[in-house]
Symmetry: C2
Subunit: 747 residues, 2 copies
């Protein structure tokens, strides 16, 4: 059972890494097959890999880390054209599987000038156009006859779409929309490929027709001349400059100056503007939720893969790096033997598996829900949309943290771009911000959870499986006795308990704050409305202060007294009417604003509730998936990972101790479990990371090489440094040489 | 008391940021004076700043983020020569104060070609040469007649100096050392400025003389010709390639091929090699500890400043960024009003103050200890050395985490290099690895703590103030009742309790593991020695297994039985003698190896103990410093920060709950305290970050601008992008244009 287990073993590999591969207790190819969903999937990976290796036009002339930004942008443009020329090599309908793999092998971790074209431009055309528009634009975009991007975010506006400033004003005389960027903050900012590559964009702008703002709508807009690629008159467009990562793409800015587009360039599947400017409001559509869930599943798979790549690099390097001695005279040890190193890496190894399983599960859920949608059933959509938002948030953050730990665990060499770890980090951590900022995402999940909690409390909950734990009875104590007899059911029970507790804790806090803040917010609201009412100084500062005092101390009591209070200020009728209208408005908005202010004050606890909801899901799904592994030899190492993951979560979360739910002794048992799991995972560590079936081309890391022959490769890599093109830099002649000569002459 | 409080306020500033500055409750200049140690220090900062602004040669021609790596390296060389030409502008003896500030203003966050020359090369000459050598090298180095670096780390060897591979073999015939790099892993790797800038290096190599290895020693070695700057024959040197950060410096590699240097180029203050090759061993010197403590104080100040800069940028930006609504119709709110945003930023704001105060305290301790050293008293040195190692580890990691949180809290714009946050992060996070890898540092602290714990248990502890808490009696419960009456003394008591508990918990675990592992390690050790003893197959595999079994099951019992056990195997006398010698050796090594193996198994808990020791110190020092603030108006906002810091530490550490030391109710109270502190800090947030007296030149961040006019500045910054030099990139003509033309022709 040794050697044959790991198809990565080859002659002339570093003996340390071969030793590790021989020590593995399971068949790596079999594990890979389980991870990716079958032998046929693995075979397709092999074929795609072989195809890419056979096509020189899909390769980089030199490693991209030695290129300037301009060179990276150019190289990415070259490769994405070549890649899309070869789409026949894959089953493009399977983007989650074959498409992502093909793209990763060729494009690496950087986005490219067509990223948004495929991910946002084409899907928006498919989802937002009426039939005529679909005919006009879809085939053109699919044929790559134009390059489009999606321009929504503005310099001063991100998540809050309602306040976008770009305007599209309908002119019925010419039957055109006039696009304008009225302020600097209205400049479109960030869209990928917008700066230099795209000649079209879907622009989200405030629609004005018949003098009324109708809210943000999508318009398709030509930006550059098809022949010369120069920006058209009225369009100002450019690159927004260098970033933490994503060096190969021209994220751009865009401003309009009375730029006119035909009426038909507003996408009209949902809303419509007729020739005379009549606006026809949209019917509500939940269908976009579905697409978002699918995009999230892709993003989660991406993040899981980034994390797994980082763990793979760090574990392989830790197997060949020898440093320090544990036993005197026995020689330096592999740093993977250090408990601290294992503790840095293995919990994140566990997460990479948990996250990949979650990605597959979300994709399957999407397919299931989509199936239900065809029967008109949208019940589960909000729940799954919330879950996918939460997973996006938790996974992108934990993946980023894990990648940095992997980088740090490689010491100095982790800081070199040769390790690839800096690049993996900057790519992955972007996911905390794009596609919905993480905190905003968690608060979205919390809205869903608070609604569920409210339903549970009022006794009319209609919850799907994912939230079912909210109606289960509380238990007083964890049933854990020994770390190695801690059953799946008990684990889930404990995570359910803690998640439930936190959801209702946040719910109570929210209720309390909403009551409190309705009193305080009363003043804010009242002051604004009363100021409006006091046009012409109907009220003095002192009078406003008096109202403030009254409202602030007790909003409940002010209502019955309002008339007499106001009477005492000696207004005439017109004025009084205006004051009352203000109070009227106040009462109407009161509930809303207190809801939002209370929400803000509870938001830390709300985020925590969301995180626990998501972690419960991740734990349950991880356990469930592992239980389906087709052989005990696979289940055993995976079970070690599930336990380490669970124990790691518990020890880092004081909530498990609250109300003495877990005792000190139980916590000690869990700590013991961590140490034991680290020991158990140690011999399988390299085989487990091998199971991800990473090719050296994909990892693109000198430290993570399959063969473990890291040091000669590092030396070879360094030779390519930009600074090594000449033996002596011009800095010597210009600055350092004269300085030293001068210094020596003075002695 | 408004407006006049903050000297940052100017006309035409963003009204939101002026509003914030007017809301502050304290005098910002007064706070800055407290932070930096007096009005005179602030005045010197003003003068140095004015000087730098007046000298165009100290400025960048374009922001460095738009430069290629080659341009950055060249720009840094130009500026560091100009800077060192102007050293007369500062009191260079005050490196901690004036020197660091001058360097930061001119060089920004990047290291430069003379970084190691000043920080390592010159101090090593001062510390390691004999008098004659000092004369020869010091003035040459100080006059900048040569550029030197410090080459210790090798491609395959970092923290474990004992195993460096570079050799320096003494040849008495020519009275020279012959330097060699016998393997690839022996290549010197990483030293700053080694690749291209330096023409000299202090090289640490294994000294061989009279056929014996004498361990690693320092040699001064010329690498490049003084006139042509070409590498000398026998020297292979170059740049190691691009990194996560530090783009402006040529970290290098270095290999020797029979390269000869005169005998006098070995630094001989401590060890000596005489003409005939006689080696004179060094006397132990603890003095280098002192310098390390000073270097650490500088590093901690650096990290604190990086974190403070990140917090300053994020807080100012959060004050002018408006996004989303809390109150309906009241317009978008400053994102600083969101509780979640405050919770992301303010705990790190608190840390930036805590860390700065620690840096000053360590510098003062260094001066005090240095004073004691002149009287021959070295008692405190190990303790302070351990403390500074621990602070380096905890602070570099928490600073890095905080900087990333600040970056993420700025949303998309935080990902742009315009924010400076990516650059701050990559600069700061390097500190987790260089000058001692963080985990290794924590384990060093733990060695010190375990020694102290051992002394306490054996009743003969002689501890300085910093460790005094180890002998205090345990208390059963925290005395906290209300978050706002939680006294300094009670806080310190609680942190002492938790640190003490963890130190002794780790100590017990260590003892237990050392006992256990001495049994297990017995086999490892025995197997090696017995294999040696069994030259010529004296023992069969079965016999070895039998010994293994015996030793493994009970090492204590094997000793008395060893003879009869061995008797039963029927050896002759010579063989028996050899077996007994092996057992002899085994017994001798037993204690050592079990110590180290047990150490490894307890290392997670040991690291935790070190962290708590350090956090206790940070908390105590923070509280103490704040209590000395010269006015209540300064003490109040600082006290809010101390409380937030303390509460944040407690809630993220389950240890406070263990043994019911803190009850659920107390934990709830602490959570309440967090929310209240966030509210209290909110109005002072901008003033608090202003107190760091950052100049726009120093922050170098579009988001963190003093005037808050971020958006126009972002647009202006973007214009400078490399990609905006031409309206149409060559990618259009080469790749994208033909692709689109082809696509359109097919429709």
């Amino acid at each position: 059972m040794t050697g044959m287990n790991n198809f990565f073993i080859k002659h002339e590999d570093n003996p340390d890494i071969t030793k590790e591969r021989n020590a593995g207790t399971f068949d790596v190819r079999r594990m890979a097959s389980f991870l990716y969903g079958g032998d046929d999937k693995l075979e397709r990976r092999d074929e795609i890999r072989a195809f890419v290796k056979s096509k020189p036009e899909l390769h980089d002339p030199v490693p991209i880390e030695f290129m300037t930004r301009e060179e990276r942008v150019s190289n990415a443009a070259r490769k994405i054209v070549a890649l899309t020329n070869h789409l026949g090599a894959i089953d493009a309908s399977d983007f989650f599987g074959e498409g992502m793999y093909f793209q990763t092998l060729v494009m690496g971790r950087d986005p490219h000038p067509l990223s948004l074209h495929f991910v946002m431009f084409i899907p928006t055309i498919q989802g937002q156009t009426d039939d005529e528009q679909l005919d006009e634009w879809l085939s053109l975009a699919v044929a790559r006859g134009i390059i489009g991007t999606y321009a929504q975010t503005e310099l001063g506006h991100g998540t809050n779409l309602k306040n976008l400033e770009t305007t599209a004003t309908y002119d019925p005389k010419t039957e055109e929309f006039v696009l304008n960027s009225p302020t600097i903050t209205s400049a479109k900012w960030w869209p990928g490929g917008l700066g230099k590559s795209s000649n079209y964009a879907i622009v989200v702008a405030q629609l004005y027709t018949q003098g009324i703002c109708r809210g943000p709508h999508p318009f398709i807009v030509q930006l550059r001349d098809l022949e010369t690629h120069k920006p058209l008159k009225g369009v100002r467009v450019g690159d927004i400059g260098p970033k933490f990562g994503f060096h190969s793409i021209d994220n751009g800015f865009l401003m309009f100056d009375n730029y006119r587009i035909p009426r038909q360039h507003m996408f009209m599947r949902h809303s419509k503007v007729e020739k005379d400017g009549t606006f026809i409001a949209p019917k509500h559509s939940k269908l976009s939720y579905g697409t978002m869930v699918f995009v999230r599943s892709i993003m989660i798979k991406d993040q899981a893969t980034h994390l797994a790549a980082a763990v793979c690099i760090a574990v392989r390097y830790s197997a060949i790096r020898r440093q320090g001695e544990i036993e005197q005279g026995a020689g330096e040890v592999q740093i993977l033997d250090y408990q601290t190193q294992q503790f840095r890496l293995f919990p994140y190894m566990a997460r990479s598996f948990a996250f990949l399983f979650a990605a597959y599960e979300i994709r399957d859920l999407y397919l299931k829900v989509n199936e239900q949608l065809t029967h008109g059933n949208t019940d589960l959509l909000p729940e799954i949309h919330a879950l996918s938002s939460g997973l996006k948030s938790v996974i992108s953050w934990e993946a980023a943290q894990g990648i940095e730990q992997c980088r740090l665990a490689c010491g100095g060499h982790g800081y070199s771009l040769a390790s690839a770890l800096p690049d993996i980090y900057t790519s992955a951590v972007g996911g905390c911000t794009y596609e919905g900022e993480n905190i905003v995402m968690l608060l979205q999940v919390a809205r869903f959870l608070m609604k569920a909690a409210d339903e549970v409390q009022s006794g009319n909950a209609r919850l799907a499986d994912i939230c079912n734990y909210l109606v289960k009875p509380n238990s007083a104590h964890s049933r854990l006795t020994n770390w190695n007899t801690y059953s799946d059911a008990d684990i889930i029970g404990d995570f359910e308990h803690v998640a439930r507790r936190q959801v209702f804790r946040a719910f109570e806090l929210l209720r309390r704050h909403q009551k409190e803040s309705s009193a305080e917010e009363g003043w804010n609201r009242a002051s604004i409305e009363l100021c409006k009412a006091s046009r012409g100084n109907y009220m003095s500062d002192r009078q406003l202060d008096e109202i403030r005092e009254g409202i602030y101390r007790c909003l409940e009591r002010i209502r019955p007294n309002a008339v007499s209070l106001v009477d005492s200020w000696d207004f005439d009728d017109m004025e009084l009417h205006s004051v009352f209208r203000a109070f009227e408005l106040l009462r109407r908005h009161q509930k809303e604003s207190s809801t939002e202010e209370g929400w803000n004050r509870a938001s830390i606890e709300l985020c925590k509730a969301s995180r626990m909801h998501v972690r419960l899901y991740l734990v349950r799904n991880f356990l469930q998936k592992v239980s389906t592994a087709p052989h005990a030899s696979l289940r055993e190492p995976l079970t070690d990972l599930t336990r380490l993951y669970v124990f790691d979560l518990i020890t880092s979360c004081p909530e498990f101790l609250k109300g003495n739910y877990m005792s000190d002794r139980q916590l000690d048992e869990i700590r013991e479990g961590i140490y034991r799991c680290l020991e158990r995972i140690r011999p399988n560590a390299v085989s487990l990371v091998d199971s991800w079936d990473f090719d050296d081309m994909e990892l693109h890391s000198v430290l993570g090489r399959r063969d473990g022959n890291v040091y000669p490769a590092l030396l070879e890599w360094a030779q390519m440094s930009q600074l090594n093109k000449t033996e002596v830099l011009s800095t010597f002649e210009k600055y350092l040489g004269p300085m030293m000569k001068d210094g020596r002459s003075k002695l």
